[in-house]
């Protein structure tokens, strides 16, 4: 039992096949939803998806803040944090600004 728990908590990485499954299914979820978005909102869709692809930020945070890395790698991590944050902050804000303009009669 104890060994089982140990194996469970220190297991290195999920199997590649599992990750690929998640990836493929997520693409289909994306295709299903995106086809329903009207052309009127295609520009906000692009800026909004820019913001979502800024999710790389969570990888960048670890790269910039890993205490074991040399400072050069932290610097690159910092650059990644900056770029991804531009995407996240710029993307969500500009989408918000645009969507606020779409009004009914």
């Amino acid at each position: 039992m104890q060994i089982w728990i140990l194996a469970e908590t220190t297991s290195a990485a999920p199997s590649p096949m599992l990750l690929i499954t998640i990836f493929v299914l997520a693409i289909f979820v994306g295709l299903e939803i995106i086809t329903k978005i009207p052309p009127t909102l295609h520009t906000p869709l692009m800026s909004g998806s820019n913001a979502i692809s800024g999710i790389t930020l969570i990888g960048a945070l670890v790269a910039a803040g890993d205490p074991q890395s040399a400072w050069g790698w932290k610097l690159l991590g910092c650059a990644a944090v900056a770029l991804a944050t531009i995407n996240v902050v710029g993307g969500f804000l500009v989408t918000h600004r645009m969507l606020g303009m779409f009004k009914k009669k």
Partner: protein, 458 residues
């Protein structure tokens, strides 16, 4: 591998991104959707920062620089500049991805690292690099920097193919020798060159397709980074964005009746059989004046306005909105017919019209507006050309043959507001301008519409 609690929060964040995108299926729910997405992002970042013993110095520096730059871009960019801003953001997404993968490889990977992580790292370097410089070139083209049109790479297809093959070769080396990060950074370097040479020869009017494709790449790069880090929220989000870019790409290509390969590697307007010359086609062009157009509009019951990139260039959306109001006061029904590839990015015209307070119900898609044009008294074409060229329907030899167009020529009268008879991107004359029911009003879009309003009010 993140702990279970952290993974749960990542899952919640991924669900919030899906819900956020679903909100975009209607303008009414879109603002809320965007906020849900932003909240998901905040959750994911917070739990990442709270988790392990991170040092915050570099993190805070990066966050500050990014937040200030991003906030400034979001509020300083005019609506006409949205294509440029999206191009930049695509590029930054790609850049962030390959940096994260590169740091991960250089600091943590070794011979014991799994094959999937190593393949994903190489893929992130390749896709991220191409996305970064490809987007920067697209940005420069959208800003109309002339040097981007002058640069010609000899035997471009061969050069691109060679670069790609060398990158793939380097990927094999990187996968075999993970302790040598130099292979990875060489892949990045060459992909940066490849990104430039892929996009540099593509014309300005094809940028909607290119931006959509790079949007997709930035998502795929994020997903690849997810495989590098075995992080599911990155994989899911990247897949969503990748799918979104692909769909937009398809919408744009269908809007031009061209294949993606033709947009990326072909050159429209070059060669092909010569059609009738511009002089022949334009022999019967009739010119009109703002006063005459005002008279026409005054007696019309239904008006359709078809905007194109020219409206963005002359910033005419606000006067168009004024014209709409003036006409509505006179019981004239006004609607907008928007071609999928009008402007420089998907939905570009809609955002400009929305900025000028035109309600979204009046913005009609091509398929919706076309059946109504026979009952339309006046169709106003404002800064559009190829998307209303009837040759697309009639001449199977012309470069835009088969491209769906907005059938303005079926309206009772067509008023074309344009600076001159110069051809559009397809570089062919437009017989619409010389049609019996067409009147040309030469001039800057904004000025011309303003003069029509003035004449209407008199």
């Amino acid at each position: 591998m993140p702990a279970a609690g952290q993974d749960l929060v990542y899952l919640i964040a991924a669900v919030m991104f899906v819900l956020g995108l679903r909100g975009l299926t209607h303008p009414r729910t879109a603002v809320r959707g965007n906020l849900i997405g932003a909240l998901g992002m905040l959750l994911a970042c917070t739990v990442t920062l709270a988790a392990a013993g991170l040092e915050f110095g570099w993190i805070i520096a990066g966050l500050l620089i990014g937040a200030v730059t991003g906030g400034w871009l979001a509020y300083a960019t005019p609506m006409t500049g949205m294509p440029q801003m999206v191009a930049l953001l695509n590029g930054f997404g790609g850049g962030a991805s390959f940096l994260v993968a590169g740091v991960e490889l250089s600091t943590r990977m070794n011979e014991t690292t799994g094959l999937m992580e190593l393949v994903a790292t190489a893929a992130t370097g390749l896709i991220g690099g191409v996305t970064l410089t490809g987007s920067l070139v697209a940005f420069a083209k959208l800003e109309e920097h002339q040097w981007t049109e002058r640069v010609k790479i000899p035997a471009q297809l061969v050069v691109n193919l060679a670069l790609l093959l060398v990158c793939l070769g380097l990927s094999v080396l990187q996968i075999q020798q993970p302790a040598m990060p130099v292979w990875f950074w060489l892949i990045v370097l060459l992909s940066l060159v490849l990104g430039v040479s892929l996009v540099i020869s593509i014309g300005g009017a094809d940028m909607p397709v290119v931006i959509a494709l790079l949007n997709s790449y930035s998502g795929i790069a994020a997903a690849a980074t997810g495989f590098v880090l075995s992080n599911t929220v990155l994989i899911i989000s990247g897949a969503l964005v990748g799918a979104s870019g692909l769909i937009l790409c398809k919408v744009m290509c269908d809007g031009m009746n061209r294949s993606l390969a033709n947009v990326l590697f072909g050159n429209v307007g070059m060669g092909g059989p010569a059609g009738p010359s511009a002089d022949e086609v334009y022999a019967t062009v009739k010119t009109t004046s703002p006063d005459e157009v005002a008279l026409l509009l005054d007696s019309a019951r239904r008006v359709v306005i078809v905007p194109g990139y020219g409206m963005a260039v002359s910033q005419a959306q606000h006067v168009v909105s004024d014209l709409t109001k003036v006409l509505n006061e006179r019981q004239v029904q006004v609607e907008f017919g928007i071609h999928p590839v009008a402007g420089r990015m998907p939905g570009h015209m809609n955002v400009l019209l929305a900025e000028a307070d035109i309600p979204y119900e009046l913005m009609k898609e091509m398929d919706e507006i076309n059946p109504t044009l026979e009952q339309t008294d006046v169709a106003i074409v404002l800064g559009a050309n190829d998307v209303v060229n009837p040759l697309a329907r009639t001449d199977p030899q012309c470069p835009i043959a088969g491209m769906p167009i907005i059938d303005v020529d079926r309206a009772r009268t067509v008023v074309v507001i344009k600076r001159s008879l110069s051809p559009g991107f397809a570089n062919i004359p437009n017989p619409l301008f010389a049609a019996k029911n067409t009147l040309m009003l030469y001039g800057d879009g904004r000025k011309a519409v303003q003069e029509i309003i003035n004449a209407l009010k008199e």
